[in-house]
Amino acid sequence: MSIIPFVFWAATLVIGLIIYIAVASTIEKSGLDRLGATGNLFTCEKKTDAK
């Protein structure tokens, strides 16, 4: 059975990871809370310090 269709599918996941990291890095570089910069590429909520 041809594995090319599965290779196509796997390639889209790699492309997705690359695009997301590029976007998240841009947001982090801006440092803006408004855009969701948190200091971590894979979170969108800042940890609040315990009082």
């Binding site: 059975m1 041809s2 090319i4 269709p5 599965f6 196509f8 599918w9 390639a11 889209t12 996941l13 492309i15 997705g16 990871l17 695009i19 997301y20 590029a22 976007v23 998240a24 841009t26 947001i27 801006s30 803006l32 408004r34 855009l35 969701g36 910069a37 948190t38 894979f42 979170t43 969108c44 909520e45």
Partner: protein
Amino acid sequence: MNIYLIVFIVYFGIIIATSIVGAKKVESMEDFAVGGNKMGLMLGIGTSIATWLSVASVMGVPGNIYSRGVCAIIGWIAGWFLATAMMPAIAYKIRRPAVPCRTFPEFIHLRYDPESEKSKIRIFVAAIELVGYFVFSFIQVQGFGIVLSSITGLPYNICCVCFMIILIFTCMGGFESVARTDTANAILILIGVIAGAITVMQLTGGWGNIVENFVTTTAPLTEGGEPLQAGILGTTWGTFGVSAILSTFLSNAFGAAVAPHWVSRFMAPKNAKTAALQMFWVLILLVPIFACLVIIGMGGKMIMPSLSAGVTSDYMFPQLIIHHLNPVLGALALTAICAAAVSTANSMLLHCSTSLVYDIKRMIQGKENSTENDEKTTKELRFWILGLGVLAVLGAIGQFSLLAQGFTYVYGAFGSIFFALIVVGLFSKKMNQPAAWVSMFVGFALYLYCTICGAPFGLPTFLVSAGLSVISAIIVMNITKKPPVEAYEAYFNDNPSEKTIATIHRIRKDAV
């Protein structure tokens, strides 16, 4: 009463109760259209997954693999995954302004016609959106009708009417209600397709047997039909051929990535990072669901080599469930298919009514900004959801088309018309109104021509229509004057000028 009906009744009771609770929370037009631009990550992931999982994916994908072979993985699955992979970049740009737009046509108004009060381009785009989403809703009604009539034995037409009743409840609460229902549906769909895939693996004796059967079978699609060429289902391009599969792949990938309902979804999260991250998680979480659908499609060919005469491949999964699955697991899987239909149709009808009332009627009437008008618009939206739901059901009664193929046509048309508007508009400041009009007309005319008469030189249809649409946009934007700063500043600058912010509020008709 059989187990299928009991599970159905319990499920829809929960969905209707959730929707009524959600409807009470709606306070403003913004709440209704985009959940007040404050949606969190988890709800965003849930609603986005459920929107991807329509009857076109849950019934259409296994049916296409069953009838066309593994090539359907390129055309549909890889196409939709590439669309999802590209979405974080579009989501970031769309949600970048501090005050985002509320609908896709409103975004077009700001980006291409910010100086106008009654924007013609906004009304035109809203009309196209209305037609496209009406077709999508109609496809979901068909899918639901097929499943419910298969289970209960009730006439297909009566089942379509049942669908409308459920749909009315789920849509009335607006965006947040739709998002909450979608999240519950996404969990159910996951359980349903996993149950389906596990049963298929048990019935066939495992993946090895499934593959061996799939690459050797000659069983026709329906009983008494033409036998298949041995091995054709396991080839890269299957029964479609290279051009048709690549065209399907491109339509699904680039058409879905710029489909107006996705652009609207990117306006709802609380910030740009949430909008991008939700789509990344969706990409990952959809893998197990689609892997199950592949197993069901391929394994189905071994369990049921041919379907009954007179049915389409869309009936494959429902028939597999009814005749071969454990009744409890089968009930879950069938409810999952109906959940997919409801979750997609309710968001499509929400888009239809928003286009009609908010972007066409309100724009033509040119009403003043006021909280009173906002409340009136929200009431009208509910009325039109009901009206459009009735029309979708009437349209679906007695009509049949292939579910996944229908989606591909609409995505192809959306991509050909809107790709340049969205992608070039979000990444090039030069993109202006004349280029937007030209690209839409070129894209639409070529898509129509290539779909009916065939693309020249055997090229994929979408490549010709969307490609020439983008080229025409680039030419026109370079020979005409630059758009005003307010048209693009919010999408390229984190701190736009007061004038741009005032323009956004004016276009949104924010109550002051």
